[in-house]
Amino acid sequence: MLELITFSLINGVLYGMLLFMLSSGLTLIFSMMGVLNFAHASFYMLGAYFAYQISTFVGFWPALIIAPVLVAIVGAFVERYMLRHVHQHGHVAELLLTFGLVYLIDEIIHLVWGRMPVDYRIPEVLDFTLFSLFGIGFPAYRGFMFLVGVVMFVALYLVLTRTRVGLIVQASLSHPDMVDALGHNVPRIFTLVFALGTGLAGLAGVIAGNYLITEPGMGWAMGPIVFVVVVFGGLGSLTGALIASMIIGLVTTFAIGLNLSLADLFASLGLEITREAFMADLWFLELSRIGPILPYLLLVLMLIFRPRGLMGTRET
C-alpha cells in the first residue's frame, strides 16, 4: 500500500507537471485574450516535431531552446495575421479559427514528417536510472522534466511579478479592459502573450515528445484536458493552473491505482450485487477504468458549484 501511494504520488506530480507546462501558456492566452485556443495542443505537437528535426542536426540541447522560440514565432504570426483579423467578430469566431488551425497544423505535419511516429529520442546524457524505489527505477529524464517544469513556473512567476510587461500582463489577466484604458498597446501585448503561450506549449512538446511519442496524434490526445486544467484552476491564475494540474495529475493517477467499484462499496456495506443486476455496467465499473475521465467530472462539478475555479480572480 505504501508502495502504491508513493508511486501514485510521484507519478501524479510528474503528470501534473506536464499538464502544467501545457496549460500555463493557455492560462495566459485564455485569461487575457479570452481566446479558447483549441490549437494549443497542436502547438505542443509542433514543438515536439521542431525539436525532433533540430535535434537531428545539432542535438537535443540547442533544440530545447530553438524549438520553443520557433513555435512562439509561429504563434506570433498566427495572432498577428489571423486571430487579430477575426477579433472584432467575437470569441466564437476566434475559437473557430483555432479549430481550423488544428486541421491545418495536423495536415502540415503529415506533409512534412509523414504519418508515422518519428524517432525523437531522449538525450543519452539523461538516459539512465536516477534512483530505485521498491524495485522500480526512476528515469533521470523524468527528473529533468520535473526540473524544467519547476524552472518554468518560477521564471514565469518572476516575469509576471517583477517586470513591467509582466505587471501589465497580470493586470490584464484580471481586468482585460483596463489595460487599454491605461494606454498600453494592447494588440502588441496580445501578440506577445500569444507567442509566449504557444512557446510554452512548444516547450512542453520538446520535453514530452521524446518521453512519450512524437506522432501526428499526440495533439488530439492532449487537446481537451488542457482546458479542464485552465478552467478548473481559475482564469487569471498561474498558481491556480499549477494546483489544478497537480490535483488532476494526482486524481487520475490514484484512480488508476485503485480497483474499486460501486459494487465493492456496497459489498462492504453488506449489500451483494450480482452481474445480472439492473445497470450492472455501472455498479461494476472500476475506478481505474474511469480514471482518465475523472478530470471532466471534476470540471463539471467545479463549474456548477464554483464557476470561477479554484483560484480564479473572476468568473469565467
Binding site: G34, L36, M82, H85, V86, Q88, H89, G90, V92, A93, L95, L96, L97, F99, G100, L101, V102, Y103, L104, D106, E107, H110, L111, V112, G114, P224, F227, V228, V231, A280, D281, L282, L285, R289, I290, P292, I293, Y296, L297, L299, V300, L303, I304, P307, E315, T316
Partner: protein, 437 residues
Amino acid sequence: MSEQSIKQTPAHIAPAPRLRLLRGAGIWIGALIVVLVLPMIFSSGHSVSMLTQMCSAIVFALSYNMLLGQGGMLSFGHAVFSGLGGFIAMHVLNAVNDGALVIPLELMPIVGGLGGLAFAIPFGWISTKRAGVTFAMISLGIAELVAASALMFTGFFGGESGISSNRVVDHTLFGFLGVSYGPSIEVYYLAGAWMLIATFAMYLLTLTPLGRMANAVRDNPERAQFVGYDPHLVRFLQFSLAGFFAGVAGGLTVINYEILTADALSAIASGTVLVMAFIGGIGFFFGPILGAILITYLQTSLSSFSEAWLMYFGLIFVGMVMYAPHGLAGIVMAHRPALRSGRAGKLLLSYLVAAVPTALLLVGLISLIEMGYHLSTAYMPEYPISLFGVEVNVTQLRYWLGAVAITAVGLAVFLWVMRLIRRAWHEVNAALGGERT
C-alpha cells in the same frame, strides 16, 4: 446612419445582423419542391443517402443554432442529445422489430426527439445556470463524460461496434401505399418530410414569447431579469427544446444508416455541428441550413476527390472564419439590398471579372497542395500525376516554379480585381443610401 449616431455602440456588435424572418409561404413551397425534385436529379444510391444525411444534418444544425445563434449559448456537446436521442430511437426500433412495441417507423424521429429531450432536461438544468464560458466548459465536460461512458456502458451503447437495427418493420403509416422503407429513396422522402416539419417548427419557435426572450437573454441576461424573466429558465427551456430537435435529427440518422455508434455523440460530432452552424451563418435562421448542406457535402465527397481533403477543409474553414464571419447566409444577405434595388448587375459584372484570376489562383494553390502531397506521400514521387490535364512530375523543379508562378500571377491579379469589386460594392451600397450599416 451617421458616424455620431453609432458612437455609443460597442465596436464588436455593430455589424451583427439581425435574425431575419423568412416571410411568406412562397419560400416553404419552394423548399418542398426542392426536396421533392432533388433525388430525381441526384439519383444514385450514394447521392440519395447523402441527401438523407443532409436532411438530418439540417435539423441538427438548426437545433444547434437555437442555442448559439438564438440563445447565445456556445455548446461543445450538442451531439450528446442527437446521439442519446438516436440510441433511444434505436432501442425502440429494435423493440418494434422484436414485436415488443408497436410504433410506426415514421414516428421514430419523434421517439428520438423525446429521448433527446429526456436527457436535455437534467443536463440543461445544471449547465444553463450561467451563460458564456461557464456554459461552454460544462458542455465540454458533459460531452467528454457521455462520450467516455458510451464505451463503458456497452449494454446501452453497444460498445464501439454500436447498435444496429432494421428499419423495415411491420407497421408503417404509409404501408398501404406499398411503402416499406427498404429502398433508400423512400427513406429520403421520410427524412425530407421530417426535415421540413422540424424546420418549420423551429422557425415558428423563434416567433414565440420564448423564442423572443431567448434572443433577449442572449443580448442581455441582466435586462431580461428586469423585465420579469428568469434567464436560467429561458435558457433551460430553449436548451431542452434544442435537445428535442437534436434528438429528432438523431432519429433520422438511425433510420438512414440503421446503425449508431458512440461516434454519434463524440466531441467530433459536436464540433462538426458547431462548424455547420457557423459556416452557414448563426445570425440568420436559414444560415445553418446552408452550412449543414455544405459541410455534409464536403465531408462525404471531398475525401473521395483528394487525399489532401483535410487540408482543403481546414483552408476553406479558416478562410470562411476570417473573411466571411457571418457565414454563407451573411454573404447572401449582404447582396439583398443591391438585388432589391436592381443594382446587382454592376456587382455581377465585377464578380465575373474576378472569376478569372480567382480560378487562376485556385489552380495554382490546388496544384501546389496536390504536388506537395504527392511528393510527401506517394511511394514513387517521380511517377507523374495529372493536374488540370497536365502531366506533372513533382520531382522536377520546373513544375514547382510553374505552379508558384500561376499562384503568384493569380494572386496579384486577384488582389487588383478585388479593389474593383470593393469599389463597385461601395458604389452600389452608397447609392442605396447606406441602408446596410
